[in-house]
Amino acid sequence: MLHSMNVVVRKAPGEEAAILGLRAAWAVLSSGGLDTQLVYMSDGVFNLLGVPGYVGGLLERFIEEGGGVNVLRDCIEERGFSEKDFIAGVKVVDKDDIADMVQDADATATF
């Protein structure tokens, strides 16, 4: 049985995979069953710039409900952004932190 899960989102908001990952993470967090962390990397970082509508609202609710939202520093810098460009509540992490999160969680799902 799983007790904790990472949901890694690697796609920009225009691709369905981005919202599928967020919806899955939200569903797992709100059911109360698993400790859930969202990890944004590659083009997934664009989801953190304040996307309007349902998608942005769901991400904010995820954060408000205690879900962890993490973004890989290298991917932000490669794309010319910085932490101040992101919505509140996002934690910038390094590669070693993500590798630790993968080892610490029972499962890592990628979108």
Binding site: M1, L2, E16, A17, L20, A24, G33
Partner: protein, 132 residues
């Protein structure tokens, strides 16, 4: 002790190898005596629908039809549920594709991320996401 593998399939039929891989892997897992859940998410939800045959004349060549038949997975999916796999769709992704009201293959269930997917996770030992 047997384990349960949950597969989140996000690719649909034909677009790449993912759906075939998922179905064949699921069968191999079941043949070991382990359990399988498949959550048909995103384009994967198309695989839950019962095919609707075309009655008119179809100009598909025999060679092309044989090639395309490899991507028709209805029988294999019904074979998985007959062997005990739990397979459900995400009805929201069906809704956006206009197929929420279509009949399901034998054993495939209407599902959702909030309840079905969570229920699958409760019994999961290994979680795989298959898609692009």
């Amino acid at each position: 002790m047997s384990k349960t593998v949950t597969l989140i399939l996000r690719s649909g039929s034909t677009e790449n190898d993912d759906a075939i891989f998922c179905v064949k892997l699921a069968e191999a897992i079941l043949n070991r005596g382990d359990g399988v859940n498949i959550f048909l998410y995103g384009n994967g939800c198309n695989l839950g629908s019962k095919p609707v045959p075309y009655d008119g004349r179809s100009p598909i060549s025999d060679a092309l039809r044989e090639h395309m038949d490899a991507f028709v997975l209805s029988e294999q999916i019904e074979g998985l549920t007959a062997k005990g796999a739990k397979i459900a769709t995400c009805h929201t992704t069906e809704y956006s594709r206009g197929i929420e009201g279509c009949a399901y293959l034998e054993g495939v269930e209407w599902g959702d991320v909030g309840n079905t997917f969570n229920r699958y996770l409760l019994s999961t030992d290994v979680l795989l996401t298959i898609g692009r």
